[in-house]
């Protein structure tokens, strides 16, 4: 029996940050995941790749509780979240931040106010002036110019909106960051800048990053390990070199196709 008290977050937990076991997701008759297992270690940037429709976003939504899977178990920070109410999981949910594909900023609030929303929601007693200060430096921590804070999302470019989304995701100083295709729709310079930002933040703040991407450059540049989704499962997890040693046709095509070779040669040159 699960009690109604919120489950506590253990900062000194050393096991896998995310542990997914036997996950099954389906929409109607279409099965997206079947017996999917995945472990994410503390402090790594794990890239999740897969063809369109292999359920990368669905996997992320299952982990953060936006989608209830048919079967399986999802543990984050060693705590099982399935079947628990929002009130019970609040302490754990505070410890992660999510950047959605389009940024998902609240359009009626300025960038700084967007950052203040989670702080006000979870720590309503924090001094108002201090909350503003925190929001203002979070905006700049995510690489936005200082004058971007009082702007509305509609006044920002796509790349700036992504950075504003990161600022909001970082509002509560999370240990775990989910990024859904952060570099999609950015120009190569903006995308490279975003990769650097992700790496820097991960190192300074000691984050674990769960990164869904199609961007081969991002995979080569910043991911410690890559998980490949295909055939309704995670068919392989490892560094790109380890994956290349495998004999799976999709993995070979993905990393050894013309674009894959280009990205890897770019890395060697750098």
């Amino acid at each position: 029996m699960i009690g109604e008290d919120p489950i506590q977050f253990d900062r000194h937990y050393e096991g896998p940050i995310i542990c997914v076991k036997g996950l099954r997701n389906s929409f109607g008759t279409q099965v997206v995941h079947e017996g999917l297992d995945l472990e994410v270690r503390r402090g790594e940037i794990i890239g999740v790749v897969g063809g369109s429709g292999t359920g990368k976003s669905v996997l992320m939504r299952s982990i953060i509780g936006l989608q209830t899977p048919d079967e399986g178990d999802v543990k984050v920070f060693g705590q099982s979240l399935l079947g628990r109410s929002d009130a019970q999981t609040i302490e754990v949910r505070k410890r992660w931040g999510v950047l959605f594909q389009g940024g998902a900023l609240f359009s009626t609030l300025t960038v700084a106010e967007n950052v203040m929303v989670p702080i006000r929601e979870f720590y309503p007693n924090m001094d108002r002036d201090f909350r503003r200060e925190v929001a203002k430096y979070k905006v700049c921590l995510s690489g936005l110019p200082p004058d971007a804070a009082p702007k509305y999302p509609s006044e920002l470019s796509g790349g700036m909106r992504k950075r504003a989304g990161i600022a909001r995701a970082l509002a509560l100083d999370p240990d775990l960051l989910f990024l859904d295709e952060p570099t999609a729709g950015l120009d190569p310079i903006g995308a490279a800048g975003f990769d650097n930002l992700t790496r820097e933040l991960q190192q300074t703040l000691g984050l674990t990053v769960f990164l869904i991407t199609h961007d081969l450059d991002t995979l080569h540049a910043i991911c410690d390990r890559v998980a490949v989704l295909a055939d309704r499962q995670v068919i392989a997890v490892g560094t790109i070199e380890e994956l290349l040693a495998l004999d799976h046709p999709w993995i070979q095509q993905y990393f050894n196709g013309p674009r894959g070779r280009m990205a890897s040669s770019g890395k060697q040159l750098a």
């Binding site: 505070k94 359009s107 700084a112 203040m116 201090f130 925190v134 203002k136 702007k151 509609s154």
Partner: protein
């Protein structure tokens, strides 16, 4: 578990003040520390972190800001804390969380000015758009093969047939209410029998078509704006243009034709149902049998009343279609704009319908159709 953040003051022999922090300096543990720090002694020379447990960027920011405000030195932090404080020090904080509010007088003047220009541009835009529809209609008349009959007939179904239920119910209730209220008032003169005139003439001439127009504006005008607006957002309209399909021909004209042709039918239907409602109430309340009621209706409602309704209805239909499609085509930017434009379409359609109805009333009296 988190330990609440706290600090204590120590003054050394040479007068230097040290603030010794303890507990966790994290967002969860920081509590009212920023306020207490502000209200504290003031200038300290040393900030001691040796007893601090866990620190995150919120704590690091507090320490960094306090240190730079007071010109204090930080000591005793572990490597991780120093790295965080260093990283925080490297970003220049933003200026403000909201744009500066403008001067209230200037704001009011700007609002009034903007509203006026929007009113004028909308009006000219509507007229221009109506012209574009007429041009497209004229072009199609030269090439009748290009008329999209499938789309037109589908709109007939959506705008006309599917509205029958709700418009019938609404009109029936309106007929009931007019007859009931009329009977109460007319009874004071012993003139209940004129309830028939009231119901027959009022619904045929005015209310049947007017209420139908309001219902169609809410039902179909809003749908036109939302459908076309969404297509605008997803760049479907631009795609159409590049392929060489005119959006006015493909999207606007079918809706326009449907609204113009369906409105008279719906309006007439509404009037008849309202009369049936009034007849039912007269039967129950005033003991006028249906046969008498309907023969009286035929005597007291002149045919010109039916014409009045039938002349107004297509004009109202045109207004609804033009405002709906025009506002839909004006959508740009984001999904929020679709909502705004849909509201504008309905409000403008109903407003213009009522304004035109007033003109029609004067006009028909003038030509002697009273």
């Amino acid at each position: 578990m988190t330990i609440a953040a706290d600090f204590s003051e120590e003054t050394s022999e040479d007068g230097a003040i040290t603030l010794r922090f303890s507990g966790d300096l994290s967002i969860a543990a920081i509590g009212d520390l920023p306020e207490r720090l502000r209200d504290s002694c003031g200038e300290a020379q040393w900030l001691d972190l040796s007893e601090v447990g866990y620190m995150d960027t919120v704590g690091a920011w507090l320490i960094y800001r306090t240190a730079s405000n007071w010109n204090a030195e930080i000591q005793g932090g572990d490597d991780e804390a120093n790295r965080l404080i260093h990283a925080i020090g490297n970003v220049a904080p933003a200026s403000d969380v909201r744009p500066d509010p403008p001067n209230p007088i200037i704001r009011i003047l700007t609002d009034v000015g903007e509203a006026t220009t929007i009113a004028f541009t909308t009006l000219t835009g509507l007229v221009g758009f109506f012209g574009a529809i007429m041009l497209a209609a004229f072009r199609l008349m030269l090439h009748p093969g290009r008329i999209r009959w499938n789309a037109v007939i589908q709109r007939f179904d959506v705008v006309g047939v599917r509205a029958l239920g709700i418009i019938g119910l609404m009109s029936f209730l309106i007929g009931l209410v007019i007859a009931q209220q009329g009977a109460v008032q007319l009874r004071q003169f012993g003139a209940e029998v004129f309830t028939v005139n009231l119901v027959g003439r009022l619904t045929m001439r005015e209310l049947g078509v007017l209420m139908t127009a309001i219902m169609v504006a809410g039902r179909s005008g809003s749908a036109f704006a939302a459908q076309i607006g969404t297509m605008k957002l997803t760049e479907e309209i631009d795609a159409m243009r590049t392929i060489g399909v005119s959006p006015v021909e493909a999207l606007v004209l079918p809706r326009f034709i449907a609204a113009v042709l369906m409105m008279p039918l719906l309006g007439f239907f509404a009037s008849v149902v309202a009369i049936i409602g009034g007849g039912l109430l007269s039967w129950v309340e005033l003991d006028i049998p249906p046969a008498t009621f309907f023969s009286r209706i035929r005597e007291v409602v002149p045919l010109t009343d039916v014409y009045v309704g039938l002349v107004k209805a297509p004009v109202f239909g045109a207004i609804i279609a033009v405002t709906g499609c025009y506002q839909g085509m004006q959508v740009k930017g984001n999904a929020e704009d679709v909502g705004k434009r849909t509201t504008a379409a309905v409000v403008q359609a109903i407003f213009l319908v009522i304004v035109l109805d007033a003109f029609f009333a004067v006009f028909f009296t003038w030509i002697g159709w009273n």
